[in-house]
């Protein structure tokens, strides 16, 4: 099967600032990939390329069999749902519901289908109670969630998300994680930029790390997150669960909370666990 998303030798410069250099990787349908790296590593630039807001100076970004180079963002929205780091700039309707339905309407879907997708996305992110509010009356973290709902409602083959959990509490993070897993199960390819490595560990499987615009690692996330010495030069630090696994020498080095609790219970010969 061909990849849902393919970067082939991609380079991009903002004038004199080289942001990406010779980046290549594939993401298959249903795959859940974290895109990690220090501030300024090039993550958001890559998101902009996939969403068609920028076009590469070198190489090609493929979404399915489309070369994004020749396509406008509106056209790419048929295949790519995106969430930008500063999602404020992504909302413009008078209510959250109207905003979420904008994408499906722009795709020209019939009214009942627009309604289904809108309500499903609102519910998936626990935004039902805010549906009639003006996006700007919401706290920034919920505004971002509203923009994410808009991306989900496109039901695209590629979801490319820039910091979806910034400022969210634990319950909402879990809600986002569930929603993303579900879309992946239905076949969406996920590429998620995040500094929230705990969220990444819980939700995603594969880690791609950028460093100075170049691809530094592309491997299973669990192995990467337990390796403090490899993360350090990349501006990354193992998240708490991974650090705990290593510090207590837990067998299998779990990186997800539930797995760590089970392992801990087993090793301690303790209670029934979760």
């Amino acid at each position: 099967m061909s990849a849902a998303l393919r970067l082939d030798g991609v380079g991009f410069s903002y004038g004199a600032v080289a942001a990406l250099c010779d980046v290549s990787f594939d993401v298959a349908a249903g795959e859940r990939v974290a895109l990690l790296g220090r501030n300024g590593a090039g993550k958001t630039t890559l998101v902009r390329l996939v969403a068609g807001l920028l076009h590469p100076n070198a190489g090609t970004v493929w979404v399915g069999d489309w070369d994004t180079g020749g396509r406008a963002p509106e056209e790419l929205a048929r295949r790519v749902g995106s969430l930008f780091q500063h999602a404020d700039q992504q909302l413009f309707a008078r209510t959250v519901r109207e905003d979420v339905s904008f994408g499906p309407r722009a795709l020209g879907l019939p009214a009942h289908e627009v309604r289904r997708r809108t309500e499903e996305a609102l519910e998936a992110l626990a935004l039902g109670g805010h549906a009639t509010q003006h996006p700007y009356d919401l706290p920034p973290a919920l505004r971002k969630l509203a923009a994410l709902a808009g991306a989900l409602a496109l039901e695209p083959i590629v979801l490319v998300l820039d910091e979806p959990t910034a400022g969210l509490d634990r319950a909402l993070r879990a809600q986002v994680a569930d929603a993303l897993r579900e879309h992946a199960e239905r076949g969406a390819a996920l590429l998620v930029v995040t500094h929230d490595l705990a969220f990444a560990a819980e939700t995603l499987d594969r880690g791609i790390v950028l460093d100075g615009g170049r691809l530094a690692y592309d491997e299973p996330l669990a192995a990467l997150l337990t390796s403090a010495e490899r993360l350090k030069p990349l501006g990354l630090v193992p998240p708490t669960v991974a650090a705990l696994s290593v510090a207590l020498d837990l067998p299998g080095r779990p990186v997800r909370e539930r797995d760590a609790a089970h392992t801990l219970a087993r090793v301690a010969g303790g209670g029934p666990g979760l």
């Binding site: 903002y14 600032v17 790296g37 220090r38 501030n39 300024g40 590593a41 958001t44 780091q85 500063h86 404020d88 706290p139 920034p140 973290a141 919920l142 820039d162 910091e163 910034a166 400022g167 969210l168 509490d169 634990r170 319950a171 909402l172 500094h195 490595l197 705990a198 350090k232 501006g235 990354l236 630090v237 998240p239 708490t240 669960v241 650090a243 705990l244 510090a247 207590l248 909370e257 539930r258 760590a260 609790a261 089970h262 801990l264 219970a265 301690a268 303790g270 209670g271 029934p272 666990g273 979760l274």
Partner: protein, 258 residues
């Protein structure tokens, strides 16, 4: 003299009937870091706006109770990209914008700006146009701008949201350093695992009201865990069926582990 005291503060945003803060009492001493925790919408951001004299003065709305501020304060908003002055074409000038408005002599401004850029590890960005920065680079610039004004009371809303994990750590360390220099600091954060090593006091906000105030140990209690506010280590310990009191951090866990 405490830099900040809130006495029975209740606050309503314009055209709302339910208050966003209810009967909140809080004192912040010089040299102290207070962490505000709670669910989204619990009132942490509003409390910071009130403390910064932005609510109701700028936001509108209505406040009951009293806010006593005996210090020069500065705030970092949760949306740093909305906080650029729009008047500066370089990062250096952006960071200098606040101090310049304080009417300081040029050499004092320069000293504070250079020091702030160093502390946020962004000296190399000094000549860049702020509107072209990455998210985390920009957040560092906004925090540097606050630092450069040398306020006695620092108010920060999710100051590490866009920072890489190493950068977040160094900002948390920096806040401890600043508290050591005598600053009073109030910080709202969803990064609960950072709180134990940073905060002297934790204020748990729930639906606009203070549910509990205490040491970070609060974040290892069952009630906090039930509400999604336990630290990761405390939650894992509890989920594993191990006995309380739960360890708060990895270091605590190691100490407990046979």
């Amino acid at each position: 003299m405490t830099p900040l005291a809130l006495e029975e503060v209740t606050f309503w945003y314009p055209a709302t009937e339910t208050p966003a803060l209810r009967d909140v009492a809080l004192e912040v001493a010089a040299g102290e870091i207070v962490a505000l925790v709670g669910k989204v919408g619990a009132g942490a951001s509003t409390l910071l706006l009130v403390a910064a004299d932005l609510a109701p003065r700028v936001t509108g709305g209505r406040l009951a109770g009293a806010v006593r501020r005996r210090a020069r304060s500065g705030i970092v908003l949760p949306t740093p990209w909305t906080q650029l002055s729009g008047m500066a074409f370089t990062v250096w000038d952006e960071v200098a914008f606040g101090p310049a408005n304080l009417g300081w002599p040029g050499h004092e401004i320069a000293r504070h700006v250079d020091h702030a850029l160093e502390r946020l590890e962004i000296v190399s960005l000094a000549a860049r146009d702020p509107v072209t920065l990455s998210g985390g680079e920009l957040q560092r610039v906004i925090v540097a701008g606050l630092l450069a004004m040398d306020p006695d009371l620092m108010l920060l809303d999710e100051p590490t949201a866009e920072l890489d994990p190493a950068g977040a750590r160094s900002v948390w360390r920096l806040l401890r350093l600043l508290a050591g220099e005598g600053k009073a600091i109030v910080v709202a954060t969803s990064e609960l695992d950072a709180v134990p090593d940073v905060a002297d006091q934790v204020v748990w906000l729930d639906d606009g009201a203070v549910r509990a105030i205490g040491t970070p140990q609060l974040l290892a209690e069952d009630a906090a865990c039930d509400d999604g506010l336990g630290t990761t280590v405390a939650r894992i310990w509890r989920a594993a069926g191990l006995a309380p009191p739960y360890p708060l951090t990895v270091a605590d866990a190691v100490r407990r582990w046979p």
